[in-house]
Amino acid sequence: MEAKRSGMYSYLMVIFSIIILAWAVWAMYNAFNFQQQGNTENFYFYAAASSIAIVLAVSSIMQMRRRMLLLQSLAIKVLSIILCANCGFKVVRAFTQGDFVYKEVGNCQQCKGTMRIDSIYAEEPPKKSRP
């Protein structure tokens, strides 16, 4: 729940930063226009404001990107793979405290054989493939 809220905050911050970045580009365009018109005061105002906004927005986006990567790494799921020694029936479930490799966890639903935890591993969420 906390991770979800944190992820939401990151996305909102990114959206806000993109808006600031868009304004900065517009301000920079205006600054060049003022420069051509010879309006020095406005040129300096817009150029300075735009530069500061670009630096802030880019740094904020970079920071949020790092935060999102960290959140992604925290979202790793640890799974317990349970196998039936007789028929090979496999059950995959989330790790629960007290699980360990070769722990007996009841009988097989299919052949009533003994089910044991065969392995426990952490699985990363699937990465989005780039086109």
Binding site: E41, F43, I76, F95, F100, V101, Y102
Partner: protein, 392 residues
């Protein structure tokens, strides 16, 4: 020509005017408004400041960055300590509040034996490590009287991870404060350069603390997992300290597989166990195969399996020394199979790629045995690493 004072000051004023004129000409529009002049002065001032105070500015920025890192380390350290305390209370059900005893445990230190005369240092180091291990175990058991042996081992590992984080925090804070106090650019710079690696290590220890609290297998257990696969459904016995052994056969060869006693967090003393097994068989061992997790280089794939020669075992070197000495005494070849992983992957929950590498390692062991031994030979396969979450 001798210049009188008033004339010199007039010259100085002219010089400053000249510099200002040059600076003002840098204005993009060449305008002469007040704002334009002010901006040029600011730019000029910034160039001047960076020229003369560049190093101070850089060290101020570095101090700010280090300040953030020290705060983050403090948070990670406190978090790990809180996790240890919570787990001790949950599992150990102590009668008294264990907070102060835990704090004391986190401040413990270890003095290495003197190495001016290195003869016999391995024995001395091994003895001191044994004492430290026994004391740490006894202290943890005192903190958590209700914990089973396996849970006590996990708690011991958890407290050790907290101890490592505590030490890391104190070392970083020491150099940060020293750099700040002495305004030494080079102390600050060295710490800043090492910061990414330090933070990576701290995050790895934080991950390890969580894994030990829950009893999840960690990446370092790759060797133990391989040995446990070989030992499964065979009769086991304990040899030496916390090391389990089982006998099986592969391609007509007698295989003695060994690993630390699980499923609690434990590394055992495989050096002693291998020595005992070789002595039990009067040196008639055709080969020793050691399986362990090893650090990969950046860019290498996690779970990649490679073979080599020598005793694959980490730590301070006492266990490796024993294995090498015994193998040399009986002229037994020692082969190593390693599963590659990063430092972070080694002490955080075992990744799928590492778990899946276990079967690949068994295939490599089979090939190695077929190529280098004959039927009826005895081979020792040692699964090295922390066996948290892996039984036998």
């Amino acid at each position: 020509m001798f210049i009188t004072a008033p004339i010199r000051s007039a010259r100085s004023i002219e010089d400053v005017d000249l510099i200002l004129d040059v600076a003002l000409q840098l204005a993009p529009t060449g305008g002469n408004s007040v704002l334009s002049n002010l901006m040029n002065l600011v730019i000029f001032g910034m160039i001047f400041a960076s020229f003369f105070f560049g190093q101070q500015i850089q060290s101020r920025i570095a101090i700010l960055q280090l300040d953030g890192a020290v705060r983050k380390l403090e948070f990670i350290k406190s978090d790990a300590k809180a996790l240890a305390l919570r787990t001790i209370k949950e599992i150990g059900k102590p009668k008294d509040d264990p907070s102060s005893a835990l704090s004391g445990l986190l401040e413990q230190f270890f003095i290495s034996p003197v190495d001016m005369d290195p003869a016999g240092i391995v024995g001395k180091l091994d003895h001191l490590l044994d004492v430290r291990d026994l004391k740490f175990k006894a202290d943890v058991k005192k903190l958590a009287p209700e914990a089973t042996d396996s849970q006590a081992n996990n708690l011991e590992n958890l407290v050790e991870a907290s101890w490592a984080l505590n030490l890391l925090y104190k070392v970083v804070r020491h150099f940060y404060l020293l750099g700040k106090k002495t305004s030494s650019f080079y102390i600050i710079l060295q710490l800043q350069m090492l910061l990414p690696l330090i933070m990576q290590e701290a995050e790895a220890y934080a991950g390890a603390a969580k894994a030990f609290a829950l009893g999840q297998p960690v990446g370092d257990g790759a060797g133990a997992l391989v040995a446990s696969r070989l030992m499964r459904d065979h009769e086991k016995r304990e040899v030496d300290k916390d090391v389990m052994v089982a006998e099986t056969t592969i391609e007509g060869r007698r295989i003695i597989a060994l690993k630390a006693k699980g499923p609690g967090g434990n590394v055992g003393k495989p050096g002693d166990a291998i020595r005992t097994l070789i002595e039990e068989n009067t040196g008639k061992v055709a080969m020793v195969v050691m399986v362990d997790a090893a650090l990969k280089f950046e860019g290498e794939k996690t779970g990649e399996i490679t073979e080599g020669i020598g005793a694959a075992i980490g730590g301070v070197g006492t266990e490796r020394f024993k294995i090498e000495a015994e193998a040399t005494k009986y002229k037994i070849p020692v082969y190593a199979i390693i599963v590659k992983e990063s430092i972070l992957e080694a002490i955080t929950p075992m990744k799928k790629e590492i778990a899946e590498a276990a079967n690949g390692v068994i295939q490599r062991i089979k090939t190695l045995i077929q190529e280098n031994t004959k039927e009826g030979d005895l081979v020792i396969v040692a699964g090295i690493g922390n066996t948290v979450g892996i039984a036998q």
